[in-house]
Symmetry: C3
Subunit: 344 residues, 3 copies
């Protein structure tokens, strides 16, 4: 198993990239991200070519990064623009590898693939981030397992009743209707529950909520590991625009075979100005991921000899369709990528 | 080196298996032990066959164990008896491997060997646990080394003067007569010391003890790693029934190549109703094993490249006979087991 | 990569070898050092030949070391001189490997090479330790990297302005003239800075110092990893005997491939009786090594796949000459040592 390289990966929330450089690990590469001239984000391999000191331990000045070991100074393209020693000559070997970067949807994105393919891969489409009706809170965490195990968890919301007891009511699973569909390389799972008691979470978003309502949780997965989950409750047969809605984006970044950086953002279309709701949503979402999902996924990993779920011959149940489809797509894309790279 | 599989291994003291399931590692296998219907102990492989969540993280209800991830429910035979999702169908693949279990001598025992051999291997004989003259205290600890290194330590009590200064008097080693004998696959070492100052430990058991008495420490080993040590002090030539006696059972369970679960129980035939003596014996025994033996055995391991003591060509002294015999028996039994499994 | 074995390595400062034995790791060997008869230092392989208990966990009595596990007693040559058990016989197998030891320059030195070569390798010449003009403070630390990476750091003092801002003034690097020379297998790097602001450190040594002075830092390296750095400030063209001078000895001991024991001593020729200066120098030097150099060298290591700097094709700058020369000498000596050992 390995990673899809030809992809844009999230590096940081824009608001977290300020006046210091960030040290990141993406696909087993160490990367430093910082704001270069004009505040534009830059990404370099995080090692000075002189003695391999991590540049992320250095200082930023005027959009350049100064190595903390011998003071060599690099611009956002990775070129050494100053050698503070002796005659000050730089040599062409003082060039750091740079990575294409973009800033969009409130995030810094880094292209980890073949340089010649950069232009041919547009940034992912995540239009929900542009929806003017939504107010967002953000978070992130590290998960001690392969990203595909996190995808498995997210594409299967039937675990909510058991792992997140505050987010569902007892017996919820038996009442849930599950539907999965695949469009191209996009996998969508829809969970429909009629006359579900309104959860504590939705009561925050829905003043004067009735005792029960119809709930729909609609999650869409894109390779390698971007998921958007829209949950709404309402009184009609299907969700209506004015129904209270909670959107959670899940953006998974493989740090290495056994480590994942997990960015999440939760948007809502009601109680939008309540700082209290923002704070509860931020802490509650973070806690569910950190203290309920993460330990369970790590425990699952402890019972597997590798990250290849399918090779372990799990008992497949109907609601596993989404996760199985996503794994098949990633496997096919990895094969394609290997073939393409062999041809370059 | 590997483990003897065709054996009953201790899993827990009976009094420690209450209303929650226990997660155990035995011979590199993860096992969940719990009380099934009627309170009978059950042992299953500790992973749900659906997504491999450890069942030990689940909940017990009416003698069944409910997976904490998706709520699948298993009985003590490992059969899935309830699927809480959608139409509730279970599939035959939802079957967990179960292990034979027994409850005897105040312990839960698990058979780790070939299923077809279960009936042919009776539980170990540990009649001292049934002796009505004895009152017991119990304990357990984890040791960071292979179980055979712990056996080496226990079959050689000449270390007591040096490693456990409170349990012997100076010069004790020079006065000790050592005798070793083997009967079938049982190894017995007997240490006899004439006119030994009565130790602080025996003063607890012997009111109005004389200044010195004759001491006998008699330890019997059975494969893979069960030892019973009877120590008595008295004024006759050989131990008499009414002499104060301390029995310590040592039951070692290989968790993996470099980890051992160590169950111990200490029984006495005097001061039987004294809570004070019970408390001192419990804490003192635990402390000696945890803070004196365990660090020394781990330090010994740090100087070896493997767990095979003999391959390191140690200088063999007369009192090493017991440990050497026990290692030879285990090696022969491992060979026999490999041959037998090859024939099955 | 491996270690030069035919060398005397520092084991401890003399003042740190008192009434207890020290457990050391040198070139991946575990060694116990203690004071034998007459207080002479002794070095043995740190494992009892009986059951491999570390002798360093034992007790010292009358210049002998008594194993803490079974009480076997060894003299400074590694011979078992007492067996406290039964008939007290010792066997010839009870012999511990001993290492040649010397005490010189306030240190214990251990010869780690071939025994037949002992006589042919004199102790290193470190005459600065005998200089009656100098007063010393001492320290030591563990570094989580290969010793050659520490040598790289020490043979390149151009990092001082950036990594140790309190020891240099801004822009210092541009004003530094660097000269490197090799005499036999000795590498010397000299850094000359005219009209340098007198650093806080030198103000301690130089009452009524002028605002600026000429500074010379002169560092000499000997294989495998001994460095002596003389830094002086003065008003003449070249250093004069009465100029305030600070000498720092750096003695690196490979514990293993990824671990180094680092002994240092700082001597000064002025403010010699000031306890305040001694205390500041001791703490300041220790802090610079522990909190500035050590984390940076470990960070450098984290960006390399091995300890072979040259194999990583670093951009070589003029001031890297010393480090490159030292690495070449060690590589050649390792080749010679392998050839010599093959011939023995």
């Amino acid at each position: 198993m390995t990673f899809l390289r030809n992809a844009w990966y999230p590096a940081a929330w824009s608001h977290d990239l300020g006046e210091t450089a960030l040290e990141l690990q993406i696909l087993d590469q160490m990367i430093v991200v910082f704001r270069g001239e004009g505040g534009h984000p830059k990404a370099l391999y995080d090692a000075c070519p002189h003695r391999f000191a991590p540049l992320s331990r250095g200082k930023l000045r005027d959009g350049r990064i100064i190595c903390g070991y011998h003071g060599l100074e690099f611009d956002g393209t990775g070129r050494c623009v100053r050698n503070p020693h002796g005659n000050g000559k730089t040599v062409s070997a003082l060039q750091v590898r740079s990575f294409p970067v973009a800033e969009r949807y409130g995030m810094i994105w880094v292209w980890m693939g073949h340089e010649s393919l950069d232009g041919s891969h547009p940034l992912p489409e995540l239009p929900l981030f542009d929806d003017p009706e939504l107010t967002w809170v953000y978070g992130q965490l590290n998960v001690r397992v392969n990203y595909e195990l996190v995808t498995d968890n997210l594409l299967d919301l039937t675990h909510v009743e058991f792992l997140h007891p505050f987010l569902a009511s007892p017996g919820n699973s038996a009442r849930t209707h599950y539907h999965c569909e695949q469009t191209g390389d996009e996998v969508r799972s829809v969970y429909t529950i009629k006359e579900e008691p309104v959860t504590g979470l939705f009561q925050l978003l829905w003043p004067d909520a009735p005792a029960t309502a119809n709930m729909v949780a609609d999650i869409v997965w894109q390779a390698p590991a971007r998921l958007s989950l829209k949950t709404s409750m309402g009184q009609g047969e299907s969700p209506a625009a004015h129904d209270p809605q909670l959107v959670v984006m899940h953006l998974l970044v493989p740090q290495g075979e056994e480590a994942t950086r997990y960015f999440w953002a939760a948007g809502r279309n009601s109680a939008k100005d309540s700082e209290n709701v923002s704070a509860m949503l931020k802490q509650g979402t973070q806690n569910a991921f950190e203290f309920e999902d993460e330990p369970m996924i790590a425990a699952v990993r402890s019972r597997m000899r590798s990250n290849d779920l399918i090779a372990h011959k799990p008992a497949i149940l109907p609601f596993d369709e989404g996760a199985v489809r996503a794994r098949r797509i990633v496997t096919r894309m990895l094969d394609e990528e290997r073939a393409k790279h062999a041809a370059i």
